[in-house]
């Protein structure tokens, strides 16, 4: 084997081969002007600056900052909620540990989004007096009863997944912001899945994953969303979390359907169209297999249920 010949051939085909072999180099693509002297070890501190730089250099829709600040408000709503978990009674130690893991993630998301936004970030909301987790008395035991607490947690996580999904097309002109948004989106979905398992097995369970789903899903939900989730954990109040969005300002080619939607990209999904295997009669898999996004306005209306002023989220 002639190594030199191979290298030469590769060079002819792909002159950037060595650049791409060095994954750290990709980081520096966004750092022109910041200097390339930064070492990999210094990167975490510099990432906020990188994002600001990218944002400043990339002509994007004026809405990107607004979208990110909206996401930041939602993360504060979640983060403060999980910080209040210590007043809840009736949780197994396993479930308390899970909530601590989620609390860390949400606090990290707040920190990250603040770094991305830099000076454009909103002021941090006060830890009291901004959010009302009882939703003006609708859930009086929001921060004391384990079952109520987990129901609200599911509502927040499922809403968060829909919010990031709906917002992704709004930031797709900035690939760095898009990738970050997607990387938060899937983490919220992991949280939602686990919270649902906790509710399925019961707040005091030590083995949430072994909870058996049962209908109605509002009391023993699957880890994914079945139809409209029966109106959510508190039907009558949480229906909008699983309902259709407002399409008046939807990006081109996008319709914010309810979670019960079974037509994707113009393809109707059912046991009549997916015939490679046999589905059980009445299978709900066709709605479960796809989550749906929501527009910012619809998410704001849901989140404002938990705003003291009723309009923190716009």
């Amino acid at each position: 084997m002639n190594f030199f010949q191979i290298i030469s051939e590769i060079e002819k085909v792909d002159p950037e081969v060595y650049d791409r072999l060095d994954s750290r180099r990709s980081v520096f693509k966004h750092m022109t002007g910041l200097g390339q002297k930064l070492t990999a070890a210094a990167l975490p501190l510099a990432v906020g600056a990188i994002f600001n730089k990218v944002y400043a250099q990339t002509p994007v829709g004026a809405g990107v900052n607004d979208v990110l600040n909206f996401a930041l408000k939602l993360e504060y709503l979640e983060s403060y909620f999980y910080n209040n978990r210590t007043t809840v009674t009736g949780l197994s130690s396993q479930n308390s540990a899970a909530l601590a893991l989620i609390a860390t993630d949400e606090a990290n998301h707040v920190t990250f989004l603040r770094a991305v936004l830099g000076n454009n970030a909103i002021a941090a909301p006060a830890t009291t007096g901004v959010f009302d987790y009882t939703a003006k008395g609708t859930f009086p035991t929001a921060l004391t009863s384990a079952n109520t607490y987990l129901a609200i947690a599911q509502a927040f996580e499922d809403t968060g997944v829909r919010a990031y999904k709906g917002a992704a097309p709004l930031v797709m002109t900035n690939k760095t912001v898009l990738t970050a948004a997607l990387n938060i989106h899937s983490v919220e979905a992991r949280h939602a899945s686990h919270i649902r398992a906790m509710r399925r097995a019961g707040a005091s369970s030590t083995t949430p994953a072994q909870g058996v789903p049962a209908s109605p899903y509002t009391t023993a939900p699957k880890s994914w969303i079945v139809g409209n989730d029966g109106g959510g954990p508190v039907p009558g109040t949480t229906d909008a979390i699983y309902g259709a969005g407002n399409n008046s300002n939807a990006p081109s080619g996008i319709t914010f359907e309810s979670e019960a939607n079974t037509t994707q990209g113009g393809v109707a999904l059912s046991s009549s169209t997916i015939t490679s295997i046999a589905f059980p009669s009445g299978s709900t898999a066709f709605s479960e297999a796809f989550d749906e996004g929501l527009d910012v306005g619809s998410v704001a209306r849901i989140a404002n249920l938990f705003s003291v002023t009723g309009n923190y989220f716009g």
């Binding site: 030199f4 081969v17 992704a168 983490v187």
Partner: protein
């Protein structure tokens, strides 16, 4: 860094005795190193070149390429959840057990994803890649540990793959559809991880909780303490996925960039 790639030095096959006193460009360095670093580079260069070789399945480029990339991964997942249904682990589960119902749902979901992509790619005027032949020789379908660990690998890989490929999609419609699927994959990943070990639905192995991302995804520079999913580039994904695909079905994703 941009040096001129087609210098005479690079085009000709150098003679050993010749170039030591010639100014060596950085990119030429590995030609002369001959040691560990150079050998590593050569191995990687070899892989890169073989991506174009006969017998691999090229997913293509552009939005159609991303859709075919997703179709390929969904084929792999669907094949896995189909095959496990014949193994002793699955058949030994009580029909009312959580694990059985979860594995049933995942089977349905992944088959739906697979068949959806085949139809959608055709509807978009593109050509779906062929039906891939999996290779699960290293999976013991009679073993709970082997099945669940493989499922965990596939689900986590799927999430990281969708997240890493989002930036290559130019159509907001397709980006939105990918988003609809990836969150379901993340829901799968979380419950499968919980089945392997309670409360492992999140973790630093898949998220930047305590350490930063070192992924090859150009736009993924997540710092430590950010709790972002560690998305993976297509080449990073197929380095794993191709281990589960038979010769003739291994993926070439060099068009996605």
């Amino acid at each position: 860094m941009s040096t001129t790639p087609n210098s005479d030095l690079l085009l000709q096959e150098p003679r050993i005795e010749q170039p030591l006193y010639t100014p060596i460009k950085r990119r030429s360095f590995f030609m002369y190193a001959g040691a560990t670093a150079g050998a590593t580079a050569l191995v990687l260069a070899g892989c890169s070149k073989s991506d174009s070789s006969v017998g691999m399945v090229n997913v293509g480029s552009g939005d159609a390429g991303v859709l075919n990339y997703a179709y390929a991964l969904e084929q792999l997942e669907a094949a896995f959840y189909t095959q496990l249904r014949n193994g002793n682990y699955y058949t030994g589960l009580s029909s009312t057990s959580a694990e059985r119902q979860i594995l049933d749902d995942l089977y349905y979901h992944e088959v739906i994803h697979r068949d959806f992509f085949k139809t959608a790619i055709t509807a978009a005027g593109a050509t779906p890649i062929k039906a891939l032949t999996p290779n699960f020789a290293n999976v013991d379908f009679n073993s709970r540990t082997s099945v669940l660990n493989t499922a965990k690998a596939f689900e986590d890989l799927g999430v990281a793959a969708y997240n890493g490929a989002g930036q290559y999609i130019t159509s907001s419609t397709y980006l939105y559809i990918a988003g609809k699927i990836v969150s379901v994959e993340a829901r799968h990943a979380a419950i499968i991880r919980d089945l392997t070990s309670d409360n492992s639905f999140v973790g630093n192995d898949i998220m930047t909780i305590t350490s930063a991302s070192n992924s090859g995804v150009a736009t993924n520079n997540s710092p430590a303490n950010s709790s972002l999913e560690r998305s993976l580039s297509p080449s990073e994904v197929v380095a794993t996925a191709n281990n589960f695909l038979a010769d003739g079905s291994k993926l070439d994703v060099s068009g996605l960039r």
